[in-house]
Amino acid sequence: MFLKTLSVVKIKNVLLVTVPDDPSDKMVYELQEQVLRSLEKHRSTGVILDISLVNVMDSFFARTIAETTQMVSLMSGMTVVAGMQPNVAITATELGLTLGTAFSALDVDQAFEILNKALS
């Protein structure tokens, strides 16, 4: 039903990363590694993190996303976080978690639009 593993797919010049529903700390760390390696390999200019399946977000996950965004930006890429669930957003605000400089989008479609606008 739900994904148990991370998927990083290259679409044109964008990396689409789909995060499983309840990512472990190990997987979150792996996410950063894989994204950066794929970015280097494919010379992508944009990264979309699809977190629409995630229903629990902890501070480690939030911090890793913020850090990864910074790293991607150092490698001249742009990151968009897509599809956060409303209850995750509420909890995140209550805990004071932010995604740093990452852009956010309602879904993957809109994430592509944001990237297209910014990169064209």
Partner: protein, 301 residues
């Protein structure tokens, strides 16, 4: 019945303690039974006299205008009076007294009227106890004290039930107000409007935030207009709640425009040192809508 959600009512679990609190003992229960003969003999007279007394007053006559109703009330009043000396002060007694308070509230009878009735009972019973041939001075005093205790207990139950009834109405209205005051609607493809009416406290913010975020996701709206024309006054707590809401909306990937900033609100925000710099603010909903349409590159002619 379960009254555990109330802060004011004496719940049945507290009833035994309440009796102790009023120094009402087994001895008192026995004493009251001794008075039962007097009560039984004089209940007609007492109730008639009570109603004659009550009906002297203009405002009482407004409540008790229907002769049928008076007849019914007198009957239940007799019952009530007899139960006070019946010797059983368990759950049935408790329930009945609680219901009296609730019924009086429902009929709109102010508490002072039935509090007056209790006082009148005491006045009528005093000579009957003291002048009774069976009791000497000391016994009469003890019996009267007992009667006084049960009157006090009854009053307490009736009043706390009354307050409970008022409280439930207030609570119900508060819930309705909350539900009514946060309508969220989509006014354009990609734009939702959320007018805030009244002050935002913790509980309302939670509900408002939930509804707004769900609506944004459901309609895939990239812009949310939060209109605060209906917010009478803003304080640091309200502002913080507003900022929390905005942050949550941004995490989803939508933008927020705050509209309806009145002069008084602008003044307070600046005086309180609340920073809304990164948020687009507009004085009117119209102006906010225009910005939203521009952002979505929607042309209006």
């Amino acid at each position: 019945m379960n009254y555990s959600n109330s802060n004011y009512i004496t719940v049945f679990e507290q009833w035994e303690d309440q009796k102790k609190f009023f120094c009402f003992t087994e001895k008192d229960a026995e004493n009251l039974q001794k008075l039962h003969t007097i009560s039984a003999q004089s209940c007609d007279e007492v109730v008639e006299s009570l109603y004659d007394h009550l009906l002297q007053f203009e405002d009482v006559r407004i409540f008790l205008s229907n002769p049928e109703m008076i007849k019914r009330l007198k009957e239940s009043q007799k019952q009530y009076f007899l139960e006070m000396t019946a010797g059983d002060y368990g759950e049935a007694y408790y329930e009945k007294r609680i219901n009296i308070g609730i019924t009086h509230k429902r009929l709109g009878i102010p508490p002072r009227l039935y509090m007056g009735a209790y006082s009148y009972y005491v006045q009528l019973m005093l000579p009957k106890i003291y002048n009774h041939v069976d009791f000497d001075q000391k016994q009469a005093q003890e019996l009267f004290l007992t009667f006084f205790k049960i009157i006090n207990l009854d009053q307490e139950l009736a009043i706390s039930a009354y307050v409970h009834a008022v409280e439930s109405v207030v609570m119900q209205q508060a819930e309705e107000i909350i539900a009514m005051s946060t309508p969220i609607m989509q006014i354009w493809d990609g734009i939702v409007v959320a007018p805030v009416i009244g002050t935002l406290d913790g509980q309302r913010t939670q509900q408002f935030m939930e509804q707004l975020l769900n609506q944004i996701v459901e309609t895939k709206s990239t812009i949310a207009l939060i209109d605060i024309t209906g917010v009478p006054q803003i304080d640091t707590a309200t502002a913080q709640h507003l900022i929390d809401t905005i942050n949550a909306v941004r995490l989803l990937g939508s933008n927020v425009i705050i509209t309806g900033i009145r002069p008084i609100i602008a003044q307070t925000l600046v005086h309180l040192g609340i920073n809304l710099k990164e948020i687009i603010t507009k004085p009117s909903m119209g102006a906010g809508l225009k910005v939203a349409l521009d952002m979505l590159s929607i042309k209006t002619s």
